[in-house]
């Protein structure tokens, strides 16, 4: 089980591991970016009730919500090369990092699609009617009326998913990505101080999450600046039911 516990090592490990934070953040950034694009597209399919594609979107969302991220990761890792092989594309030399980004983008896409859809359907029909009566075009109505209001509703849930996604990136090392966790595994192999490594990793993740949370809170305040006091005070995060 390794050597005796040495708290001093935790401080030695933190800078070593933090150097690999950029990989974690790269995965997070691209999977959020592609996830938002995929989420908007998927939400539109459902909102505009496009036949066939709408059902496919529902199955996609249900599957992502119904399976663990690690299974999705393995399915993409083993499935994507097999799939593209049919078209004569060889993926065997591609870095595992790309598979991770694909998986997390697909996963975020499904989650964001639901958040975006429910935020847009939460906007009252009257808002659109009012926008049309004062002569706005469909485009103006969407960008000036619907989108800003939907963004305010969606933001706390999006922020939560981003934080969830950051924590999920800790599983990328299972397919061999050298992120913080991957580096941690090698550090354990070389130092035999598993507990210290895991404590150091916890500290880093915790700090990143706190920084993100603080940033999101500030931005949420900004989004809510036109709201009456008491409504703005409703805590974001967990969706308020009825």
């Amino acid at each position: 089980m390794g050597k005796a516990f040495d708290p001093g090592l935790i401080f030695d490990f933190i800078p070593t591991l933090a150097k690999f934070l950029d990989i974690t953040l790269v995965i997070l950034f691209f999977s959020i970016l592609f996830g938002i694009m995929l989420g908007i597209a998927t939400a539109m399919l459902r909102l505009f009730r496009i036949p066939v594609l709408r059902q496919l979107a529902a199955i996609y969302i249900s599957f992502i919500r119904g399976t663990p991220i690690i299974i999705q990761l393995f399915l993409v890792y083993y499935g994507l090369p097999a799939l593209l092989n049919l078209f004569g594309i060889d993926l065997s030399r591609i870095d595992a990092l790309y598979f991770v980004i694909v998986t997390y983008s697909l996963s975020n896409g499904a989650v964001f699609a639901e958040i975006i859809r429910s935020a847009i359907s939460a906007i009252d029909q009257g808002q659109t009617e009012a926008a049309y009566t004062i002569g706005m075009t469909r485009r103006q109505n969407f960008f000036r009326i619907i989108f800003p209001q939907a963004a305010r509703i969606a933001f706390p849930n999006m922020a939560n998913s981003v934080i969830g996604s950051l924590k999920d990136t800790s599983l990328a090392f299972t397919i061999g990505v050298m992120d913080m966790m991957g580096r941690g595994e090698t550090l354990i192999a070389s130092s035999a101080h598993a507990l210290e490594v895991y404590i150091a990793l916890s500290v880093i993740y915790y700090v990143v999450v706190i920084v993100l949370e603080k940033g999101f809170k500030l931005y949420e305040k900004r989004l809510n600046r036109y709201q009456p006091e008491e409504l703005a005070a409703v805590e974001g995060g967990i969706p308020v039911g009825h």
Binding site: M1, G2, F5, S62, F63, R65, G66, T67, P68, I69, I70, I71, Q72, F74, L75, Y78, G79, P81, A82, N85, I163, K167, D168, S170, L171, T174, M181, A194, L195, Y198, I199, L201, S202, Y205, Y206, V209, I210, E213, E235, G237, I238, P239, V240, G241
Partner: protein
């Protein structure tokens, strides 16, 4: 490489045997976590001295770090804490470490859900309950908790499904739950894709069952609000 569809079925039957362990690893932590969450919520709501800051840190730390680290910290840390005790830790099943770790994780998440449920009960109802002479425990048991819990059903379902999925990382500490079993079947036959498709289907079906149950429970739990309006 073509997909061997027949093997998906073979793997499916093999992996199905691991479902009880997955359910055990998911539901024991939720039950234990619910009790932890309840206690933590009470400490935070009533702002108990000394305990409240500790409870706040507990919730924020466990919500701010990945569950895999909780499992690893307990797996490596607990034996170190218990070194002096007359327990032979080699005899303790690893599943127990996983359950302890996930219970702590569940406690942090559930305490937030219970707290938001309690916050949704209007203050007027609590005051009304006091005016008819109920004491704090009665107010809690008869007024706050039934409404707070009914309110929390959708969030609670998300947690149950989340934990069902979180158990998949237990395979990293060599548990043969669904993902672990899939990994074994896959490695033995060198058919990874097929095995993980089978595992994916199993998780998906369990999730759909939980979602269906939850919508029934939500209707029952919220029955009071329908008759009231």
């Amino acid at each position: 490489m073509a997909i061997d569809f027949a093997f998906i079925w073979t793997a499916f039957k093999e992996i199905l045997k691991a479902v009880p362990l997955t359910l055990l690893l998911a539901f024991t932590p939720i039950i234990a976590g619910f009790l932890i969450g309840l206690a933590v919520t009470m400490i935070r709501t009533y702002n108990t001295k000394f305990l409240a800051p500790a409870a706040n840190f507990y919730v924020s730390f466990f919500r701010g770090t990945p569950a895999i680290l909780h499992i690893m910290l307990i797996y490596f840390g607990l034996p170190m804490l218990l070194e002096e005790m007359p327990i032979n830790l080699n005899q303790v099943p690893i599943a127990l470490f996983v359950i302890i770790a996930l219970s702590l994780t569940a406690g942090a998440y559930l305490s937030e859900i219970i707290r938001s449920g309690i916050a949704s009960v209007s203050k007027g109802e609590i005051e009304a309950a006091y005016t008819v002479g109920m004491h704090t425990f009665q107010v809690l048991k008869r007024i706050i908790l039934p409404q707070a819990l009914a309110q929390s059903v959708p969030n609670f379902t998300n947690i149950v499904i989340g934990f069902l999925h979180t158990t998949s990382i237990a395979f990293l500490v060599s548990q043969t739950e669904v993902t672990g079993a899939a990994n074994i079947v896959a490695a033995q036959n060198l058919k990874y894709l097929e095995a993980f498709i089978a595992a994916g289907i199993i998780y998906w079906v369990i999730t759909l069952i939980i979602e269906a149950l939850s919508s029934v429970i939500e209707r029952k739990a919220k029955a009071y609000s329908r008759t009231a309006i």
